[in-house]
Structures are given as structure tokens and as C-alpha cells.
């Protein structure tokens, strides 16, 4: 089936099998391997991207469902060498260790801050309930998002 979609501002068109997940489409067809797959049950959030501005789990979406949509992946967050304020805050606050959950965390953080530019610690923690991190204990991820909010609001 033919699909056309925009990923990180670029237009793509491909023939895909209906069973191809959006996560696999991004990874295997577009070679955007920053979107990771960590589970089978829509639980871990490593595959989070934004679809028409909303954070979604790309492992639980078929590529065909994204036909005509506007997608941003982790690769689309930085502006060239200049990191997005969320990415920058993750670096400054040691909000990542092995880096595997990080793309999903950053994309979810973008949704949290879009809907709530001044979140409390509790709201950030609640907003991250769909993302597992096994390395950081979330402590520095929460701090990173707190600082990102400040940076974006400046």
C-alpha cells in the first residue's frame, strides 16, 4: 500500500505492507533508528514520536495509519548542531545513561511541555508514566524536564 507522509519536515512516499508498524517503517525504511523498540505491549515508550503534534507510541501504530500525517522523531528535534532545549537540559542534568529510552523520553517531554508549559514535579512524573527508564531512577529526567520548561519559557 502506498503511503505519503512528512517526517521531520521531509516528504516521503513508500509502498508498505499493511502490517509494517510505524516504528519499523521509521527504523527499517527511513533508517531513522533513533526511535527504539523496547517492548511488545505499548508499555515502555521507547518508540515515542509525535504524530500531528501528539506523542504516540509508534510500535502501536501501523505505518498505513500514519498516511498523510506529520511526524517528528528524535532526529527532528535538534536544529542542526544546536540541540533542542529539552535535549540540552537532558545533557546538563545527566537525564540519560544508556540512552536507549532517551528518544522516547524527550519526545514525551515535548508533549508534556506543549500541554503544560509550567508543570509541577508531580505533573512531570505523571506525564512520564508511559515511559520506562531502567538506568536513571527518573530523578535526573524529571530535573531535565523542569529545566527544559524554564528554558522554553524564557
Amino acid at each position: 500500500m502506498r503511503i505519503s507522509l512528512t517526517v521531520n519536515g521531509k516528504q516521503y512516499s513508500h509502498d508498505v505492507e499493511p502490517r509494517l508498524s510505524l516504528a519499523h517503517y521509521l527504523r527499517e525504511v527511513l533508517n531513522l533508528t533513533g526511535t527504539h523498540i523496547g517492548c511488545d505491549t505499548s508499555s515502555c515508550g521507547a518508540c515515542t514520536i509525535t504524530l500531528n503534534g501528539d506523542a504516540v507510541k509508534s510500535c502501536t501504530l501501523l505505518a498505513v495509519q500514519a498516511d498523510g500525517c506529520e511526524i517528528v522523531t528524535i532526529e527532528g528535534m535538534a536544529n542542526g548542531a544546536e540541540l533542542h532545549p529539552i535535549q540540552e537540559s537532558f545533557k546538563e542534568n545527566h537525564g540519560l545513561q544508556c540512552g536507549f529510552c532517551t528518544p522516547g523520553m524527550v519526545m514525551t517531554a515535548s508533549d508534556i511541555l506543549k500541554n503544560n508549559p509550567n508543570p509541577t514535579e508531580e505533573e512531570i512524573r505523571h506525564g512520564l508514566e508511559g515511559n520506562f527508564c531502567r538506568c536513571t531512577g527518573y530523578h535526573n529526567i524529571v530535573k531535565s524536564i523542569q529545566q527544559a520548561a524554564e528554558k522554553i519559557n524564557q
Binding site: E17, R19, L20, R27, E28, N31, L32, T33, G34, T35, H36, I37, G38, C39, D40, T41, S43, C44, A46, T73, I74, E75, M77, A78, L83, Q87, F90, K91, E92, H94, L96, Q97, C98, G99, F100, C101, T102, P103, V106, E121, E122, I124, R125, H126, L128, E129, N131, F132, C133, R134, C135, T136, G137, Y138, H139, N140, I141, V142
Partner: protein
């Protein structure tokens, strides 16, 4: 210069991860690559009656189908540690086949593999392999496995026992002391089985080069060289020098990616059979079924105290599951990484631990963050807190009373434990004092009483911990049964321009070696960090190495690098002396240059480096080049320690535990990068909290894992947790050049008993003395009802 050590330098690895440009194994795509899918047993225990691959072979896109009949890895996967029976008898060691032939011993055990052009087609075809099984009874609990008539895991070992081992003082002596003790506290519980759950599932790609008769194996492992050695020498019988093992970015390990897994050997074997690259990446469901689990001890403990609260004796009996086969380090975990920590931080004069290690119809158990040491700490710290409360003593006070006196390992000797090891240095009271101050311990009891009046159940739990890490002196572990040395390799290659490439045999999968190692290398050489690059994870670049686990990277791997730096500086001094027309003795090295003492005559590191590679005006008889590799074998383990405190509130109606605060004061020796150390503590603490409150692998009667996905296996999420308040003290390690001890496992070792002690403290007045982990709302509520 000391301009980097001790600073929270931001990590250089972050940029690639934050931009989605990390290079994890599953991100690699090779030309002409095929994909592997497994046919796995749905039963825990069964006879395989027949395997029919004919339909699968005909399916779309299928390249090949293999079963055990095809002769892959006929020797099976080896075990790397031999623990003998206490009577001297040799450990029972079953073969661990790559593909099951006649018999199934745990759910998920592979029976066949399908290779196809795409991942989807491989899976489609795997469904067409018809396997006929005869289901047999299974046993999953290690204590049950030891009962007469229990289902047999391996027919040749009818009693299911891998070994029966003990450590410490004479049992009769310990028992006699317990008889005479003023008070004896007892605990019986299960230190439950955990699934490590690194968020990156294991992934392997093998690429066979027909012309060179060579392989490249890309693998998500914590120790590429060890995998190469085990796989080449023991599993496949292929020449080691023909195999390159590459482990670029790895998405967390926590122990589960130490071991040599059957799938690694299978892709390597298949790649030559079909002369094409083969990839396999685990699903989370496969990870639950196949990644080695942790813990799984059935424990019975007694601790005796005198009138004043001094511990007089400690006796523990355990059944510790090995699972269906012996994984790489499995036998060492409940023995030498567990029993050797039974001294804790206390002067306990008499200790005895007996471990019976059975096989069960479950996936193998091996090291998971802390590996044996969390289990030791959990039972000791639960016993101490419970004993104190039973005797009406303050649980902090009883700890101060029993702590080993301070010793720095230089002016005072190390502390000889009752359980084989000698602690390097320790000063335990200040860590606990600092943590108690931070949490406001003095005021807490008032607050607790106040809260109780308002129907709120508050509790505070204390745990102190010690661990033996920096694994490990080869001769010591060799004597204890390790089939490998546990030294490390550090290679410092100074380039002609004075830039430095450092090759380490350790492996970073989140620990930030690229940054922290560069910090101390730059400081030691007095050059900018930007001039130092750290390289790891490739057997063709790094000479050798034992990998990363057991909080060993900095203390062992870092020390190997320091050794090479010293050699660089020693040779550099000769070149500098020649250029400065002075004697080596008259030179001092600081700030990246050699200076003739008392003069302003100097030569920079860069100039000396260039001279080493352009040796025109050069000391006679000295080899050109500035390139040194060193093996460092530590003199001892390192023994970090600390105190962890938790405050919880228990919901009276539902039994739900709300973790309000968590305070740590850890002593991991000298600290290179405080930001990274704190991060390690945070993560470890939360894994330990996960064990205390949420995590548990559960099997049903037939051996099915009923917690085989994230829908049923609960792990900590961001909103289950408070901020982790970290503090530290510094007691340097006396026997390695950096004075460092290790921080990777610390958090997971100390936190679990702190949380459980806090919950029991909250409910003590209701008569609750112990609750089985994880402390689910159901378990806590039921404990409150009794």
C-alpha cells in the same frame, strides 16, 4: 593538575544519544542480511517427540531452517565458575544445548530456528514448524525442587542438586552460640526472582566473510572479549583470532548482558552455514523468557544478640535456584558473591551460611545488579532491624553498637571477616550519621506518633550496606572456582601530535566511561580532556578485556589505564631529559610538561610525543613510539559501603505503600565525576525499590511465567517515586591508584531492605514483623489483617 577529577563534567556520549544517533546493535543493517526467528517451547518441562520443518522450509522468503539435528554448537554453552560441594564433590554441570533436542527444561527453550529474508517472514515461517511435545510435570521453586519425588530437571542428577556449599565458622559452634544468645531473631522468606529488563532487548548480528574465513559478531554485550573466548573455544570450536566481536552502544545491562547466550552462538554458526549475515533481536516477551534472571533464594535465617544488642551469631540456610542450566557466572552468585558479604558492617564473631543450589524448570538465574550482595544485605539488615525492635532498641543505635571500628587499610590493617574476604578500608558510622541527620531522624519518631494519631501509618527504615566489588583478584577468584582471570587491560596510545587514544577492556552501557575515564586520563597527563578519546567494545581495537560488571570498571579498568599512563610518563621523561639535556631525576612533570626543577626549562607533552614518533634527536637505545598496554590485576576486591533510609506511608485501607523520602549516604571511595556517581546511585536505588515494592517473576504450577510482559511484571515508573536525596562520605580505597571503589551496584544493594524496614516500622504496632517481597498492596493489607 587535577582540573577534571571530582568535577561533574557533562557527558560526551550524550550528544549522539540525544539526537537519536546512538549505534545499538539493532540499528545496524548489513547488505544481504537475513533474519532469524525461533520456535520456542510453550512448556516448562516436556519431551520433544518430533519436529517437522517441512512446511516452514517451503514458506515465502525462507533461507534455511535448523534444528538440533543439524549439529550446531554440539558442546553447548559453558559455565564460567565452578563451585564445589562442601564435601569436595564436583559441581554437577549439565550440558546447555543451543537448541533443545529431546528434552525441554524451561518455557521458551528453543527447538528450531528459521532464517528468512525479513523479520516478518522468519516469524511467519516459524509458526509453520510443527513440534510434538509430551508435557511433563515441572518444578520452579528451589526448595520444592529438593523434595523427594520432585520432577527431575536433568535425568542424570535425580536429586536436582547442582551443589551444596557452605561458608563461615563451624556450624555447630554457630548453633551453640545461638542457643546461648540473649535474644534470637528469625526470618523465613523468599528473595524473589527478578527479571533484569534492560530496556534495549538483546540483539545479535553475525557476518561471515567467506574469503577470509572470518566472522564479525555485533552483540549487545557487557564484555565482548569474554563472549569471543567462550563462544570460540567452548561452543563453536572456531579460531578466536578469526572472530571480531563488536559491541557499540548497549542499552543497559544490569548483569543480564554479561553472559554468553545461546542466540549469540547460533547467529555466528548460521552465518557460516548460509554465508550471509544473520540478525536476531529479542522481543520483550523473549527477553522475559530467555534473559538470565536474578535472585530467587528461599531463605531461613537466625541472628543472635547479647543483652546489649551485640550480634553474637548468624546462621542462614538457603535454597538458591540455578534455573534449568548453569549460566556463565551463576554458581558464583549465591556463594562467593553472597556468602562472603555475610559479615556486613558488623563485628559478628560467628557466621555460617549453607547454600543448596538446585536446578529448576526455569530460565537460568545469574547476576542481576548487585548479584548476591543485595540478597546478603537484605537478610542481614532485616535481621538487625527486626532484632533491635524485638529487644526494644533503636535500630540506628544497634547498628552503631555493632559497626566494625574505622580502618583505612594503610595505617590500620584491613578487616578480616569470618567469611573469607578481607575488607580494604571502612569508616561506617559517619555514613549512617550523615544519612540520619539528612532525614531528620531525631524528630521522626514524634512525627510518626503524631501521624498515627491522625490515622496515618508512617514508617522509617534503615539499611546499611557493604559490598565486595572491583571484581577481582584473579588468584583469589581462581581459588574460589572462577574459570577466568578478572584483571583488566588498559592501553594508552599517544599519537605523534600528543593526542591520546585510550583502549579499555571494560564496556560502557550507560556508565559514562567515555567521559569519566577521559577525566582522569587528562588529569594524570595534564592535558585537555578534548585531547583524550576512550575506545571500547571492539575486540579488534582493544587488545583484551574482561568487561563491565561487579562495579569494576574504574577500580580495575581505570587502574590498568593508570599503569599505562605511568609507563608513558616514565618513557616520556627519558625523552624529555634528552631534549632538555638534564637527567630524569632532575625533571618534574606537571601541567602537561616536563620541567627541569628550579628552572624555566621545559618541554611539553606534545613535543615529547612528536619526538617519540620522529626520533631524530633521541636518547640512544630507546625504542621510538609512546604506546603502552597494561594488565592490571587488583590486589583485593574494593568494599564501598553506605547507609540508606526510607520514609513510607502505608494506606490503611488498601495497603498501598507510598514512598515519601529516600536518603542515601554512600562511600564509594574517591569520586571522579560526582554527577555520574549520583546517577548510578539513583538508578540502583530505584531498582532496589522495584524489588521491595513491585517486581517479581511468578510461575504457575505448570511452570508458565505469568509475569512475562510489562502488563504483568511491574517495574518502577516515574510517578511511583520521590526524588532520591544523595549524600556521600569518602574513604579511599588503599590498594588501587585512583583510590576508587565502585558505585554501579551500590544503590540496588542498600535500598531494598531500607524500604521493607520502613514498611514494617510503620506497621510494627499492629503486630506486623515481616512481609514477603514485593510489598504489593495486597500483601501489606493482608499482613495488617493478621
Amino acid at each position: 593538575m587535577g582540573s577534571y577529577i571530582g568535577k561533574s563534567v557533562k557527558r560526551r556520549e550524550d550528544a549522539r544519544f540525544l539526537k537519536g544517533e546512538g549505534k545499538y546493535t539493532d540499528d545496524i543493517k548489513l547488505p544481504n542480511m537475513t533474519h532469524m526467528a525461533f520456535v520456542r517451547s510453550p512448556y516448562a518441562s516436556a519431551n520433544v517427540l518430533s519436529v517437522d520443518t517441512s512446511e516452514a522450509e517451503k514458506a515465502e522468503g525462507v533461507v534455511a531452517v535448523f534444528t538440533a539435528e543439524d549439529g550446531c554448537g554440539q558442546y553447548g554453552v559453558p559455565c564460567g565458575w565452578q563451585v564445589n560441594f562442601k564435601n569436595g564433590e564436583t559441581m554437577r554441570e549439565p550440558q546447555h544445548p543451543l537448541l533443545a533436542k529431546d528434552k525441554i527444561r524451561h518455557v521458551g527453550e528453543p527447538v528450531a530456528i528459521v532464517i528468512a529474508e525479513t523479520q516478518a517472514l522468519a516469524r511467519d515461517a516459524a509458526e509453520l514448524v510443527a513440534v510434538e511435545y509430551e508435557e511433563l510435570p515441572a518444578v520452579t521453586n528451589p526448595k520444592e525442587a529438593m523434595k523427594d519425588g520432585a520432577p527431575k530437571v536433568h535425568d542424570q542428577f535425580p536429586d536436582n542438586m547442582a551443589f551444596d556449599w557452605c561458608i563461615g565458622n563451624d556450624r555447630a559452634e554457630v548453633e551453640a552460640a545461638l542457643e546461648k544468645a540473649h535474644h534470637v531473631t528469625e526470618l523465613e522468606f523468599i528473595n524473589q526472582r527478578l527479571a533484569p529488563n534492560a530496556i534495549e532487548p538483546r540483539s545479535y548480528i553475525a557476518d561471515y566473510d567467506v574469503n577470509g574465513d572470518k566472522w564479525t559478531l555485533y552483540t549487545s554485550t557487557q564484555n565482548p572479549h569474554l563472549i569471543r573466548l567462550l563462544m570460540c573455544a567452548f561452543v563453536l570450536g572456531i579460531p578466536e583470532h578469526k572472530v571480531r566481536v563488536v559491541s557499540y552502544d548497549v542499552g543497559g545491562g544490569f548483569g543480564s548482558k554479561i553472559y554468553h547466550y545461546t542466540e549469540e552462538a547460533l547467529v555466528t554458526w548460521v552465518s557460516r552455514e548460509i554465508a550471509r549475515p544473520v540478525k536476531w533481536t529479542a522481543d520483550r516477551s523473549e527477553a522475559f523468557l530467555m534473559d538470565a534472571h536474578g535472585r530467587d533464594h528461599v531463605v531461613k535465617s537466625k541472628m543472635g544478640f547479647d543483652k546489649e544488642g551485640h550480634i553474637v551469631a548468624h546462621l542462614t540456610d538457603e535454597y538458591c535456584s540455578m534455573g534449568a542450566y548453569l549460566s556463565t557466572f551463576a554458581p558464583a552468585i549465591p556463594t562467593y558473591l553472597h556468602g562472603t558479604l555475610f559479615q556486613g558492617l558488623y563485628k559478628t564473631p560467628l557466621i555460617h551460611l549453607n547454600v543448596v543450589a538446585p536446578f529448576t524448570h526455569t530460565v537460568p538465574v545469574d547476576a542481576y545488579r548487585g548479584a548476591g550482595r543485595p540478597e546478603a544485605t537484605y537478610l542481614i539488615e532485616r535481621l538487625v532491624s527486626k532484632g533491635a525492635k524485638e529487644m526494644g532498641m533503636d535500630p540506628a543505635e544497634i547498628r552503631f553498637k555493632n559497626f566494625i571500628e574505622p580502618f583505612d587499610g594503610v595505617n590500620q590493617p584491613g578487616y578480616q571477616t569470618q567469611v573469607a574476604l578481607q575488607y580494604d578500608s571502612g569508616n561506617y558510622a559517619p555514613a549512617l550519621e550523615k544519612a540520619l541527620d539528612a532525614i531528620g531522624y531525631k524528630d521522626f519518631r514524634k512525627e510518626q506518633a503524631e501521624a498515627r494519631k491522625n490515622g496515618k501509618l508512617l514508617g522509617l527504615g534503615i539499611s546499611t550496606w557493604i559490598e565486595g566489588c572491583g571484581i577481582a583478584p584473579s588468584a583469589v577468584v581462581g581459588a574460589l572456582g572462577a574459570r577466568a582471570g578478572l584483571y583488566e587491560v588498559g592501553h594508552v596510545r599517544v599519537q605523534p601530535t600528543g593526542k591520546v587514544s585510550v583502549y579499555t577492556g571494560t564496556h560502557s552501557h550507560g556508565q559514562g566511561h567515555e567521559t569519566a575515564f577521559a577525566q582522569f586520563v587528562a588529569d594524570r597527563l595534564g592535558i585537555p580532556m578534548d585531547d583524550v578519546e576512550i575506545i571500547h567494545g571492539d575486540t579488534e581495537q582493544v587488545a583484551f578485556g574482561m568487561g563491565t560488571y561487579g562495579s569494576r570498571s574504574l577500580s580495575v579498568g581505570g587502574s590498568a589505564i593508570v599503569k599505562s599512563i605511568e609507563k608513558v610518563l616514565e618513557k616520556g621523561a627519558k625523552i624529555a631529559a634528552h631534549k632538555l639535556e638534564a637527567s630524569v631525576e632532575d625533571l618534574e612533570y606537571a601541567g602537561g610538561k616536563w620541567t627541569v626543577k628550579g628552572t624555566d626549562k621545559s618541554i611539553s607533552f606534545g613535543d615529547v610525543s612528536l619526538t617519540a614518533y620522529v626520533p631524530h634527536d633521541y636518547p640512544q637505545g630507546l625504542e621510538p613510539g609512546l604506546d603502552f598496554s597494561s594488565f592490571y590485576d587488583p590486589a583485593n576486591f574494593t568494599f564501598p559501603f553506605g547507609a540508606h533510609l526510607a520514609i513510607v506511608e502505608v494506606d490503611q485501607d488498601t495497603g498501598k505503600v507510598d514512598l515519601k523520602r529516600f536518603v542515601t549516604c554512600d562511600d564509594v571511595g574517591n569520586i571522579i565525576n560526582p554527577m555520574i556517581v549520583d546517577g548510578q546511585i539513583h538508578g540502583g536505588v530505584v531498582q532496589g525499590i522495584g524489588q521491595a515494592l513491585l517486581e517479581e517473576v511468578v510461575f504457575d504450577e505448570s511452570g508458565q511465567m505469568i509475569t512475562g510482559s510489562y502488563m504483568d511484571y511491574a517495574m518502577p515508573r516515574a510517578d511511583d517515586l520521590p526524588m532520591i536525596e544523595t549524600h556521600n562520605t569518602v574513604t579511599p580505597c588503599p590498594h588501587n591508584p585512583l583510590g576508587v571503589k565502585g558505585a554501579g551496584e551500590a544503590g540496588a544493594i542498600g535500598s531494598t531492605p531500607a524500604v521493607v524496614n520502613a514498611v514494617v516500622d510503620a506497621l510494627w504496632h499492629l503486630g506486623v514483623r515481616d512481609i514477603q517481597m514485593p510489598l504489593t498492596p495486597q500483601r501489606v493489607w493482608k499482613a495488617m489483617q493478621q
